[in-house]
Symmetry: C2
Subunit: 194 residues, 2 copies
DNA sequence: GATTTTTCGTCCAATTTGGTCGAATCATAC
DNA sequence: GTATGATTCGACCAAATTGGACGAAAAATC
């Protein structure tokens, strides 16, 4: 039945992630995906109407995982400082795992696809909201200085994006973690009341 | 002069390694290399007569580095056991670094290029020779059992090639090192006189 | 300023690309 | 059985991309 149809579609998406990961989004062809999935190229079109459709599905799937896990990470009952650290570190690790999503954020040639642009904007909105909440919570608890929260949140997000670049270059998680720690050290002592 | 010509050729090779690394050998185009080198595609043909020529140059260059460093690693005045360990570990790390050479050994589609096949054979011959020398040294020192050295060397090389596969999958150097240690533990206690 | 070295834009035939379509195969029902 | 629908695939196409050729324009050297 179409129970199976969903399974096969999922199998195709897994295969697509594998080759996207290997060759990059631009270089991956429908033949590559078909080969990786162990079926003919024609069959792919029974489940997805285009290459764009496959990419879109993968991105949406990873986007869901990303925002869901990030949201979960900051639901813990911990201090605002810890929450901020948790958010940054979790975000780094997830963007490393969800490689297709990460590529979709950074590969310039994808600007032709409008759904990618939408996704980028939606994710930015999510981030501003999440970080803002952590900050305003910290302010109301007297831990962070009561300054312009939106601007502060945007600043943090900009710094995180700069860290992404390091992530691509070094690819060492431990090194990255300590960089994050160092950065948050600085960040906290600038934000905390004293 | 043609001092500069060699420099530019070298710059092109560096750029080629970068994109070979990123897209794989098959997926990399002359346009990619040109873009990465910051010059026009046509100009590449002033320095190299074909894509095959570029690949060949990179492989030969990395091949030289590989055998030179491997040779150096086993020139140290250490025990045969240590020498064997040194060889295996150094080999792993170098094959990880010299990614184009590694790809040239493993990517199947390259079988069309005869120089790759020659390179593979030459490297195998080098390995058999190197490992055999370590083994026969160990035998003459009474450390290894005096069995068929050639077969023993080939066995070790086969095991190393099996480890390469793990390397591609895990990509974690620390994990690999301990695997090598474990393997050599077993290997030594089978080889040593007791 | 003539000559040589180096770069590049443009062109081409060959291959590869994303995507279509109808026929073949498979499963499920009767 | 066989009729019906679900699923796969090979063959095919127009469009894009490929490796490579060539000569004209710059740069560098004399």
């Amino acid at each position: 039945m179409h129970e199976k149809k969903r399974d096969v579609a999922h199998k195709i998406l897994l295969a697509a992630v594998k080759v996207f990961d290997r060759y990059g989004l631009r270089k991956t062809t429908m033949r590559d995906i078909a080969e990786s999935a162990g079926m003919s190229k024609s069959s792919l079109y029974y489940y997805f109407k285009s290459k764009k459709d496959i990419l879109s599905s993968v991105v949406k799937q990873e986007s869901l995982t990303l925002t869901r896990k990030l949201h979960h990470a900051i639901q813990q009952d911990i201090s605002p400082q810890q929450k901020l650290r948790e958010y940054v570190v979790t975000r780094m690790h997830l963007l490393f795992e969800l490689s297709v999503y990460y590529a979709s954020l950074s590969e310039a040639y994808l600007e032709q696809y409008s759904f990618i642009e939408q996704e980028r904007e939606a994710f930015t909105a999510f981030e501003i909201d999440a970080v803002s909440k952590i900050l305003s919570d910290g302010v109301s608890k007297g831990i962070f200085q009561g300054r312009d929260i939106l601007t502060a949140a945007k600043t943090i997000i900009i710094i995180m994006k700069a860290l992404e670049l390091r992530l691509v270059i070094s690819k060492s998680m431990d090194e990255l973690d300590s960089t994050v720690d160092t950065m948050l050290e600085i960040l906290f002592h600038g934000l905390e009341t004293r």
